[in-house]
C-alpha cells in the first residue's frame, strides 16, 4: 500500500526526464510554468492551515518573504566565499542553491513557529488579523534593512530555478500534505477544523496540530520564496505585500478548502487566467469591442473570480453550488 510514494517517485522521474528540454520552451511560457509551480507550493501549503486545520491565515506572503530574502542572502553573501570551496561551476552553484532553499525554508518554518505559538490560540478573524500584521511587520523590517537593499530590493546574480527544482518542491509539498492528512495521526488536523472542543475531548492536542500545520506551511512558503527569488532575480519588500497573501488565500478558497486536487487546479487556473487574457488582447482577429473588454484584463479577472465564487462556492471540485444544483434540476426536468 505505498501508492503515494510510487506516484511521487513517478512524477519526479517524469520531471527529471522533461527537465533537459526546458531550454527549448519559449521564455514566456517557461515563466508561466515556474509561476504555476510556485503557486501550487504556496496554495497547497496554505491549504494545510486553512483548508485542513481550519485556521484562517492572511500572512502567507510574509513567510514567502522570509524564505525569499533568506535564501537570496545566502546566495548573495555566501556565493563569493563558498562557491570556490564547493568546487565552483554548475555543481557548486546547484549545491549552493539547495543550501539557500533549505535555509529559506527553515527560516520561514522558524518564523512560523514564532508566530504560531502565541497567535494560534486566537480564532477566526482575530487570527487573520494577527497573521496579516505579522506579514506587514516582516515587510517593514525588510524595507528598513539596508544590508538587503531596503526598499530598493535585493538582486540575485544567478538564476538556478528551473522546472525540475520547482516541480520537485511542488510535488514534495503535495506529497507531504496528502500523506499527513491521510493517516490516523494526520486526521487530527481535520478534527481540529471540525470541532476543536470535541477534538480536545478525544485526546487530541489541538494547539500542537495547529502549530505543526502552520510550521509545515511556512516551511514550504519559504521554499517557494527561495525559488521565486532565484527565478525573478530581483526581490523587493513590496512584492510580498498583503495582496500576495490574498492571492494565495484566493487559490485555496477557489480550489476548495481541504481539497488538494482542487487547489492545484486553482493554482494553475489563477496563474494562467490573467496571462491568457493578456494573450487574448493581442489577437488581431478578434473584433475591436471584444479586445477592448479583454484589454481591461484585471477587471475581467476580478469579474471571473466573482462568477467562479458564485457558481462554485465550495471550490472548483465541489458539487454543492447553487448553479450546479439549478443545472441538475434542469437536467432532471428535461429527462422527465
Amino acid at each position: 500500500m505505498n501508492r503515494p510514494k510510487t506516484c511521487f517517485l513517478l512524477f519526479v522521474a517524469l520531471i527529471a526526464a522533461l527537465a533537459p528540454f526546458q531550454s527549448a520552451i519559449n521564455p514566456y511560457y517557461f515563466n508561466i510554468l515556474i509561476s504555476i509551480g510556485i503557486n501550487i507550493i504556496l496554495g497547497v501549503g496554505l491549504n494545510l492551515v486553512t483548508g485542513y486545520t481550519g485556521q484562517f491565515s492572511l500572512g502567507h506572503a510574509g513567510f514567502m518573504a522570509v524564505g525569499a530574502y533568506l535564501s537570496g542572502s545566502v546566495t548573495v553573501f555566501l556565493a563569493p566565499r563558498w562557491l570556490p570551496a564547493l568546487g565552483g561551476g554548475a555543481a557548486g552553484e546547484t549545491a549552493l542553491f539547495l543550501l539557500a532553499l533549505i535555509a529559506g525554508g527553515l527560516g520561514a518554518g522558524l518564523a512560523g513557529l514564532a508566530v504560531g505559538v502565541p497567535s494560534l490560540r486566537l480564532k477566526g478573524d482575530y487570527l487573520a488579523i494577527v497573521t496579516l500584521g505579522f506579514a506587514e511587520i516582516i515587510r517593514v523590517i525588510l524595507q528598513n534593512m539596508e544590508i538587503v537593499g531596503g526598499p530598493r530590493g535585493l538582486s540575485i546574480p544567478i538564476r538556478p530555478t528551473g522546472l525540475f527544482g520547482t516541480y520537485l518542491a511542488a510535488a514534495l509539498t503535495v506529497y507531504v500534505v496528502v500523506l499527513l492528512v491521510h493517516s490516523t495521526y494526520g486526521r487530527g488536523f481535520l478534527t481540529v477544523r471540525d470541532d476543536e472542543i470535541a477534538a480536545e475531548a478525544m485526546g487530541i492536542n489541538s494547539t500542537k496540530y495547529k502549530v505543526i500545520a502552520f510550521v509545515v506551511a511556512a516551511f514550504f512558503a519559504g521554499i517557494a520564496g527561495g525559488l521565486y527569488a532565484h527565478f525573478i532575480q530581483f526581490i523587493t519588500p513590496e512584492g510580498f505585500g498583503y495582496l500576495k497573501s490574498v492571492d494565495i488565500v484566493v487559490i485555496v478558497i477557489l480550489g476548495g478548502m481541504g481539497n488538494t486536487p482542487g487547489v492545484i487546479l486553482a493554482a494553475i487556473l489563477l496563474t494562467i487566467l490573467p496571462e491568457g487574457l493578456r494573450v487574448m488582447s493581442g489577437w488581431e482577429f478578434l473584433p475591436d469591442a471584444v479586445r477592448g473588454i479583454v484589454k481591461n484584463r484585471m477587471i475581467l479577472y476580478s469579474l471571473l473570480l466573482i462568477i467562479l465564487m458564485l457558481t462554485r462556492p465550495q471550490g472548483l471540485f465541489s458539487s454543492g453550488g447553487k448553479w450546479t444544483q439549478k443545472w441538475r434540476a434542469m437536467k432532471r426536468r428535461g429527462r422527465a
Binding site: 500500500m1 505505498n2 503515494p4 510514494k5 507531504v176 500523506l179 499527513l180 493517516s183 490516523t184 495521526y185 494526520g186 486526521r187 487530527g188 481535520l190 478534527t191 477544523r193 471540525d194 470541532d195 472542543i197 470535541a198 477534538a199 480536545e200 475531548a201 478525544m202 485526546g203 487530541i204 492536542n205 489541538s206 505543526i212 481541504g258
Partner: protein, 267 residues
C-alpha cells in the same frame, strides 16, 4: 506511595475511588456555578447527576474534563489531581465524554470519526505518517480493525462509510459513545444522552449504557433530565441545585427526598 497502588493491595479495585471531587468550586465573575461539590466515583459504578435546568450539571462535566479549571477545591482521577491539566491530557488519563449537543466531526465519515479518536494511542508520530514504513501500515491496520470492532459491537458497521451528519439522531448519539470508547476510557461521562429521544429509543439507550458499562468495565457518570432513564439504571444519584449538591443516594431515597422534590417542583 501511589495511593492507587496502595488501594489495590488492601481493598481491591472496586473500592478505589476512581474520581474524587473534593470541594470543587468554579466561579464565573460573581456567579458560583458549582459550589464545594464533593463527589466520588468508584470503578465500575454507574452514577447519575441530576438537577433542574441551569443547576450546573454540564459545568461539572467541564470541570472534570478540564474545559474549566476549579477556582478552589480539587479533582483527582486515580488519586492524581487533574486541576490545571488540559482537556486532551485528561482524556489521555482515561476520561472520555459525550456532548449535550452532539459534537461529531462533521466532515468525516462514521468510520473516520472513530479512527480519529484512536489518535492518542498511536505509538508513531509525524515522521511515521510521512515515511510510511511497515510499522505505519501495521498500526493503521490495527486502528482500522479496532474501529471496525467497535462499530460492530454498537451495530453501526453497516453505516461505516456514511457521512456522520447524515445519520439519524439516535445513531449520532451512539456514534458519539463509540468515539468516546475509542479513547479507551476508565470513566465515561454522558451528557444528556436521552435528549430528544422517544420512549422506545430511551429504552434502547438504557440497555446500551448498561451494556457498555459492563462490556468495557467502565465507571459512568450520567447527566440526564429524563427521570425514567436515571432512576432505571443508576446505582446512585447525586442531585444538584444552583451548583450545590442537595442530596445523594440510591434512586429510591432520592425519589422521596423532600429537598429534591422542592427543587424540582417548588415548595
Amino acid at each position: 506511595m501511589d495511593p492507587k497502588m496502595a488501594g489495590h493491595e488492601t481493598e481491591g479495585p472496586r473500592m478505589n475511588p476512581l474520581l474524587e471531587m473534593d470541594r470543587a468550586t468554579v466561579e464565573f465573575g460573581g456567579l458560583r456555578a458549582v459550589s464545594e461539590l464533593d463527589l466520588t466515583l468508584r470503578q465500575g459504578e454507574l452514577v447519575g447527576l441530576i438537577g433542574p435546568n441551569g443547576a450546573g450539571k454540564t459545568t461539572v462535566f467541564n470541570l472534570i474534563t478540564g474545559v474549566y479549571q476549579p477556582t478552589s477545591g480539587d479533582i483527582r482521577f486515580e488519586g492524581r489531581s487533574v486541576a490545571g491539566r488540559k482537556p486532551y491530557q485528561i482524556t489521555a488519563r482515561g476520561v472520555a465524554r459525550t456532548f449535550q449537543n452532539i459534537r461529531l466531526f462533521g466532515s468525516l465519515s462514521v468510520f473516520d470519526n472513530v479512527r480519529a479518536a484512536f489518535n492518542i494511542h498511536l505509538h508513531h508520530g509525524i515522521s511515521h505518517a510521512l515515511w510510511r514504513g511497515p510499522g505505519f501500515d501495521r498500526e493503521e491496520r490495527e486502528v482500522e480493525t479496532m474501529a471496525e470492532e467497535l462499530l460492530e459491537i454498537f451495530h453501526l458497521d453497516h453505516l461505516r462509510d456514511a457521512e456522520c451528519t447524515a445519520l439519524p439522531y439516535g445513531d449520532q448519539r451512539r456514534l458519539e459513545i463509540v468515539r468516546a470508547l475509542a479513547t479507551r476510557p476508565k470513566l465515561l461521562l454522558l451528557d444528556e444522552p436521552a435528549a430528544g429521544m422517544n420512549p422506545t429509543e430511551k429504552g434502547e439507550l438504557m440497555r446500551l449504557i448498561r451494556f457498555t458499562q459492563e462490556k468495557f468495565d467502565l465507571a459512568v457518570l450520567l447527566v440526564e433530565h429524563d427521570m425514567r432513564v436515571v432512576m432505571g439504571i443508576c446505582e446512585r444519584i447525586a442531585v444538584l441545585d444552583y451548583g450545590v449538591k442537595i442530596a445523594e443516594g440510591a434512586p429510591e431515597a432520592i425519589r422521596n427526598d423532600r429537598k429534591v422534590i422542592e427543587a424540582y417542583l417548588g415548595e
